[in-house]
Amino acid sequence: MYYVENKWVDNNIIKTEGYPNIRIKAENFGFNVPDSVWLLPNSFETIKEPNGILYSADYDTLVKLFRASNIPCSLLDTNFSKLQNNSFELFALPLIVFPYHFLINHPEIIIESLKLLSDLFHRHSKSFSKNESSRVNVTIIKEERPSSFKKYSFQGPESSFDKFIEYMKNEEKNGKQADN
C-alpha cells in the first residue's frame, strides 16, 4: 500500500503517491532500466506478462519531442503496438519515468521535460477558447533514491498545466533542502 496525497489547485488535481519498484518488475520481464528518460506503458506496475504490453497512442509524439530537444529517451522496445482510442484526448501520453542515476547527472531534466510538454499542449490548444480549455492528463514517475519511486500526476485544463510545473519545482526545492 502506498500513501496518496491529492492537492487541488483551482479545478485541477495534482496527485502524489508512492509507486512500486518497477526496476525489479522491468528486470523480471527482461528489460534494463536505461540511463535516460524512460517511457513506459500506462499501468506498467499492474502488467502481468510482457506479451500484452500496449503503449498509449501518443508515445511516439513524446519520443519525437525529446529527440528534437536532445533529451535521451528510451522505450521498453520499439516493437510494441499501441492502443488508439478515438475519443477526444488532447494527447494520450505514456508514463514518463526519471530513473535515479539519470536524475543525478541531469537534475533539471524533470522541469525541462514538463516545459516541453507545456509548449506542445499550448501549440495544440490554440483553437480552444478560455472557457473550453482542453484537458490533459500527465503522469511522471521519479526514482527519488535507488529503487524508491514516487508518482506525480496532473489532471486538469491545459491552461493550468504550468501550475503542475510550479508544483514540481517546489518539490525539487524541498527535496534538495531535505537532502542537505
Binding site: 509524439t61 503496438s81 499501441k82 488508439q84 475519443s87 501549440r123 490554440k126 483553437s127
Partner: protein, 213 residues
Amino acid sequence: MENKQIIELLKEKFRYLYMTRDRTILEEQISLLGKVEEEIIKTKKQYIEEQNESLANLWLSFECLVIAIENGLKMFVLLKNGDPDNAWNCLVDAQNNSSWSIRAHEFNKEIQLGYVSFFNGIEKWLFPPQTFVSSSMVVGRSECSICKKNMLDCNHIRGQCYMGEFCSEIVTEIKQFNHMAFVTDPADKKCRNTHTGNTNPPKLNMMTLKMDE
C-alpha cells in the same frame, strides 16, 4: 489576391451565415468561395515551391477558414432542403477547418476564434444533442502523412503544420479491434448514433425523429 483582401473577405462572409438568408444567395456564395479556394491553393503551392514555410502555412490557414465558411453555408442550404444529417457533417467540417486554421497560422485570432465559437454555438442551438461513438483499436504500424516513414522514425508531430501541410498519422496495420464506446467528447463528431430500432427498416432517425424507410 493579397493577404489583406483575403482577411477582409473572411470577415465579410460572416453576414451570410444565417438561417434566414435566401438559398440562391447562399449557393452563389458557395460557388464564389470555391473560386477563392482555388486561388488560395495556387498561392500556397507557389510558397511551397519557394520553400517559404511561414507563408505556405499562412495560406493553408486561409484555405482552412474558407473551407470552414463554405461548409457553414452548405449546412444552411442542406437544412433548408430538409437534410439535417448531411448538414451535421458540413457543420463538423466547418468546426474542424476553423480550428485547423488557427493551428496552421494565427493571422487574426479574433476572426479565427470568432468562427470557431460561432460553429460551436450552431451545434448547440440548431442541432439536438448527439450520442457519439468512439472506436478503440490496437495499432501495429502507422506512417507519417508527410514523409511516409514509420511514425516512430520521423520527426513530424501529428497535428502540426509543416510547409503548408498538416502532419497526420495513417494507420497501416490494425492488429485488433478493442472496443466501441459511447463518449461525450469524440475525436470525430461524424461518428454518432444516427438511427435506433431493429436491424431492418423502418428506423427512427435521431436527427428528425421520423421513421426512415
